[in-house]
């Protein structure tokens, strides 16, 4: 294990603002495309439009947690502080998309099943995942020392990511052993196109979110490092 290196430069934001504007504009465009291109669903009518946010958000959430896993492993392996900050930023973005998935799932559920919540396999495992990453973020909030916070949250992030398939499997079994799972009907090609286009746009938004959260964290850390240089005055 290596010590947090005292060399971390504050990132420059410049190009990322343009990136953010473009990706959000793209998301608006893909949403509009999906709205126009997809005919209303037989049963759900125009409500199926929710799925163009709900489903891509769920996919993006998985991407976020995969990033948490990879960067947590990288941090434990190399000990670079930047990796810890990226993992934290991805966890925050993941929690946002996770929350979005849950809320839209509930809004979908109200007309579809007549209640705000059913213990559907997908919805339930998404909720469990949300709680796992709430724990991850709570741990980060409760630990001040950067090295300790980095190592602890990396361990929690890796174990949490490892648990994703197991949680999904157990919840699915739990449901299917009693009744048929509620799943989306097989969808026409045109629905899938809208779905994937939105997924692509949302990925860019995710990258923008992570970058911005990373920048905020890195600026804060760089300020601490500057304070360190001042405190150590003339060292090296």
């Amino acid at each position: 294990m290596t010590t947090v290196a005292p060399t971390l430069e504050a990132p420059r934001a410049g190009r990322w603002t343009a990136f953010g504007v473009v990706s959000i504009a793209l998301l608006v465009a893909t949403q509009a495309f999906a709205f126009v291109s997809s005919p209303p669903d037989e049963n759900m009518g125009q409500l199926e439009k929710i799925l163009y946010v709900h489903v891509p958000a769920a996919w993006v959430m998985f991407v976020c947690f995969a990033i948490v896993l990879v960067y947590s492993l990288l941090f434990l392996w190399k000990g670079r502080e930047e990796d810890d900050l990226v993992a934290a930023a991805a966890a925050e973005a993941g929690a946002v998309f996770n929350g979005l998935t849950l809320i839209l799932g509930m809004i979908w559920g109200k007309p579809a099943w007549g209640v705000w919540w059913v213990w559907d396999a997908r919805l339930t495992s998404t909720l469990v995942l949300f709680l796992v990453f709430v724990g991850y973020l709570a741990l980060r909030a409760f630990v001040e020392d950067p090295q300790r916070r980095g190592q602890w949250s990396a361990a929690v992030g890796i174990l949490g990511a490892l648990n994703v398939p197991i949680v999904w499997m157990s919840v699915t079994w739990w449901r299917t052993l009693h009744q048929m799972p509620s799943s989306m009907q097989s969808m026409a090609k045109i629905y899938w196109l809208g779905m994937f286009a939105n997924f692509g746009a949302m990925l860019l938004v995710m990258a923008y979110f992570i970058r911005r959260r990373y920048e905020a964290a890195a600026v804060a850390r760089a300020a601490e490092h500057a304070a360190q240089a001042a405190a150590l005055g003339g060292l090296d």
């Binding site: 709680l131 409760f142 890796i158 499997m169 919840v171 079994w173």
Partner: protein, 228 residues
């Protein structure tokens, strides 16, 4: 030779934890008392109807074990933190996993014994009929307890040394234990009902896989959480 030394260290830590617990029985007794109290509260919540109690028995038993067990894990590190013993412990040569495995053994015995008592009381309180497949039921309880102890011992290494340890441990631990709880409750329930659907086997496999995966992962990661 070096490995033999490590095994001696594991034994020393497990012995030390268990001896400490044995000599201050108050800790174990109150954890068991809490487990039983939770069972009684579940009895009140679920009503006096015998059939309703029997149906809910598996879930109530496992939640009682979970809530009582969670207290054991922070205790296990409390003894290290009380008078700075952890500082000494970390300064001994040798790998860090010996600390984890030693505590794992001690906590397994602690939680295992607590589980036996709580389950025995629960069987009486909830008027459970012991099924003919009781050996399978014991296997389910053992596998479920191992999953609980593995993750509990691991997460307590962090939570016990953080601010807000009382809330942080359950917050981290409970969502992680969802597969254990679902599998253990479902399998126990199926077995208590005679396992007519032959579903307990799948759950037992899931429990075993969960235990194995997280035992390996926590053994690897323990060094990073204890030594910082």
């Amino acid at each position: 030779m070096a490995f033999h030394d490590d095994l001696r260290r594991v034994r020393a830590i497990a012995w030390k934890d268990l001896t400490t617990e044995r000599r201050s029985k108050a800790g174990f007794n109150s954890v068991v008392a809490l487990g039983v109290t939770i069972l009684v509260l579940f009895g009140f919540a679920l009503g006096p109807d015998a059939q309703a109690l029997r149906d809910a028995a598996a879930g109530a038993l496992w939640l009682a074990v979970l809530f009582a067990g969670v207290l054991a894990f922070n205790r296990s590190y409390q003894v290290e933190l009380e008078s700075g013993a952890l500082d000494q412990l970390l300064q001994y040569p040798g790998p860090r996993w010996v600390i984890y495995v030693g505590k794992l053994i001690a906590n397994s015995l602690f939680v295992g014994l607590m589980l036996v008592i709580v389950v025995a009381v629960g069987i009486a309180l909830f008027q459970v009929r012991i099924p003919s497949a009781w050996p399978a039921l014991i296997a389910v309880f053992a596998l479920g307890a191992v999953g609980l102890v593995v993750l509990g011992t691991f997460y307590a290494a962090m939570a016990s040394r953080s601010r807000a340890r009382e809330v942080l441990l359950p917050l981290l631990l409970f969502p992680m234990l969802v597969p254990v709880l679902l599998a253990a409750i479902s399998a126990s329930k199926a077995l208590l009902g005679g396992d007519l659907m032959h579903e307990a086997g799948a759950w037992v496999k899931l429990l075993a896989a969960y235990d194995l995966i997280f035992m390996v992962a926590t053994l690897w990661a323990f060094e990073y959480v204890i030594e910082v």
